[in-house]
Amino acid sequence: MAKDTRDTETGLGSPLRRKLLMGLAGVPALAMMPRGAFAAPPTSAVNTTGLAVTDTEVTVGILHSATGTMAISETGSIQAEKLAIEQINAAGGVLGRKIKIIQEDGASDWPTFAEKAKKLLVNDKCASVMGCWTSASRKAALPVFEQYNGLLYYPTFYEGLEQSKNVIYTGQEATQQILESLNWVAKEKGAKSFFMIGSDYIWPRTSNKIARKHIENVLKTKVVGEEYFPLGHTQFNSVINKLKLTKPDVIFTDVVGGSNVAFYKQLKAAGIDLSKQTLLTISVTEDEIDGIGGENIAGAYSCMKYFQSLKNPNNEKFVPAFKKMWGEKTVIGDVTQAAYLGPFLWKMAVEKAGSFDVDKVVAASPGLEFKEAPEGYVKIHPNHHLWSKTRVARAKTDGQFEVVYESPELIEPNPFPKGYQ
């Protein structure tokens, strides 16, 4: 696979330099690991850049929308991050220090994200920040993290086309999520024609672009339609007629928010039976099914890296812990799980680096392996995204998914995919 050589100017520089950094990072990590387990090292040694670290505490920020339209989606991430931090604290904290949370509300307003990010970095001196959900909020906050050399763990699956020294992306970028599932549907269902329907903004458009290139250039099949609707659109009868006219083998959707609900209800009402018509979506997790209603979407295939129903020992511990903390009725979607990874990945990087200093933590991150992830084994790539598996699962009427396919290997993250732009 093509190695990424397209780091941004703030990124990790040449491959040579990257190797150097990784090498450097490895040395102290080896030396520090055992010490971290026994006693807390002195603060002066682990914090040379004035972060909010005391002998007993280290401050970490959480920056999501607790209010506004995005609160719906971001609540799960906040819950997962809090759970992870509680678990870390219960196990002794990070370098012998308990994590103290400062939570800020981005209020679904992008400048607020930039403001609060600045507050968390400049006023509160947070050692790291778990946060952001939409691309827009990340784009707004990113310059702040780069300017003040902060560290952001970003949980959402997103369109890629970005890589920053100051961000660890714990969700999948578009190629990871899409390519493998397209291969699966082509092979398993013999799909020859695709119809793509998305909400009109950057993530669906970029994702569909990648999907189209793959469908046309790699699978050598065809796209018979590509449609976008404004966010919040609720009338899909015309496009459903187009589906009936073009009769695609696969409907590929990335519709989001309230539109999602309307789309599946109308699809079902129009007599398109998802047990016969293959529908592949990259925008529906367990969270979304709550609002859509399981009976409206049952039979659709969703591709994500994580589903609540995943059967592995890690997940069988994670799901009950999550429900114990946040209630029996809560559901856990892909992003929630990705958010849960953030604090652990940070803890491991800090302990490997033996320091809270952002530069050292960043340097220690590539190559880190996290074997206790609910999704299974993940590994941080030098481009700051995660190696992860992709899974395809079928929605059931009870709102859960049944995993029908899992990529055999971890898929390499490739935020700037050659040939897909």
């Binding site: 509300d105 400048p111 930039a114 310059p143 950057i202």
Partner: protein, 393 residues
């Protein structure tokens, strides 16, 4: 309301229509003092930048005082002009940040990153003027004003007024948002235009730059207040009030009513555009979330809270609502929307003249009573009362 009957024995011989009355000079001094002296001394760089952001909304509120308070034209689309001004500025900054060497990893270096992601290989024609700073500064005002001119000429010549105008401007805000989000190759889509760095080589991201921009912003705001005050005090200001009252009478006094409405609307658009450009400079990006219906209506409430007839009130109202929003939403996020909603209702039901009304009806009379022995009361020349919306035609 009772007003002491004034005789004109003396007043016609002195200047009875000064540019600003002593009270207004004091208000201006107070506002300038707070914005330019007190806040910069009292707040750290982070909070000051926040105030700077709030003050950019005050430009919009100021325009609404002229356009809504004085001329009776309620626009629910001021976000359009704020956004256009902001986008014009952002386009210049983005081009500067997208120099060939900064973007050499792209397939087409030298164009903004989001264009490259959307397979655009050459700069679209309407971006080219924004390579030049002087041209940009001109367009920041000219584009929104031209747009406002087209809308308002079309509507006011045909006597669309009142509620209809409000609803149509709202629809325009909705259309523009969908367009900006949909045409992401040209506009940056829903993420907006982000990662802006330098203005003509000067790094706007540093604390020092933000400090200077804050003062530029404050200075511009005071300048706009003075300009608005000039308009308000001129005969044109009185014609606007007269039009709001009895449009036909003004028309049959030989005025082209539409022309004056167009002027008021364009002036408000120009103010909003300046605010938008300063917003981009201080916050470092521009996105369609400032163009739509919700921000547009919120900006109306700033003016309403301050007092729809008071220029200074508009600024205070903006600051107050935003401070409340920031602090309230931090401590009681769930209650914030209740609070904001209640604020809308309270302002409309109980305090239709906002902060300025409370000041004039409850505080000023007491002060005047005390000062009465010292000097005779001011002649009443400022319109009071809530404008009744022009009837829909």
């Amino acid at each position: 309301m009772t007003n002491p009957v004034q005789t004109l024995s003396k007043s016609l011989t002195v200047n009875d229509n000064p540019f600003m009355k002593p009270v207004e000079w004091l208000s201006l001094l107070l506002l300038a003092g707070v914005i330019l002296v007190v806040l910069p001394l009292a707040l750290d760089a982070f909070r000051l930048n926040l105030v700077g952001k709030y003050l950019t909304y005050a430009f919009v509120a100021l325009g609404l005082v002229i356009c809504w308070g004085y001329a009776g034209i309620l626009s629910l689309g001021q976000g359009v002009f704020f956004g256009l001004g902001g986008y014009c500025m952002a386009m210049y900054l983005k081009l500067e940040a997208s120099s060939v060497e900064n973007t050499k990893i792209q397939s087409t270096p030298g164009i903004p990153d989001f264009m490259d992601w959307n397979q655009i290989t050459a700069l679209p024609w309407f971006w080219t003027p924004f390579k030049s700073l002087p041209l940009t500064l001109l367009l920041v005002i000219a584009v929104p004003v031209a747009f406002a001119f087209i809308i308002s000429v079309a509507m006011f010549k045909r006597r669309v007024g009142g509620t209809y105008f409000a609803i149509i401007t709202q629809a325009i805000a909705a259309i523009l948002t969908i367009l900006i989000v949909g045409q992401q190759g040209f506009t940056g889509g829903i993420n907006g235009i982000t990662d802006l760095r330098t203005l003509n080589g000067w790094d706007i991201r540093t604390d020092h730059a933000k400090f200077i921009l804050y003062f530029v912003n404050g200075g511009l705001l005071i300048g706009c207040i003075l300009l608005a005050q000039y308009v308000k005090k001129s005969k044109l200001g009185r014609i606007l009030v007269a039009m709001r009252d009895k449009e036909d009478r003004v028309r049959f006094s030989g005025y082209s009513v539409a022309g004056f409405k167009v002027f008021a609307f364009c002036l408000a658009a120009a103010f909003a555009a300046i605010g938008g450009a300063m917003f981009t400079l201080q916050v470092g990006f521009m996105s369609p979330s400032f163009v739509g219906i919700v921000p547009s209506i919120e900006m109306v409430i700033y003016a309403a809270v301050g007092g729809r007839l008071s220029l200074f009130g508009a600024v205070w109202g903006t600051l107050l609502v935003n401070f409340a929003k920031t602090s309230f939403s931090e401590s009681f996020p769930d209650l914030w929307l209740f609070g904001l909603g209640a604020l809308f209702i309270a302002v409309v039901l109980a305090f239709p003249n906002g902060l300025a009304g409370i000041w004039r009806e409850h505080i000023e009379p007491r002060l005047t009573r005390r000062a009465k022995s010292l000097r005779p009361p001011e002649p009443i020349a400022v319109p009071r009362g809530v404008p009744h919306g022009a009837p829909a035609e």
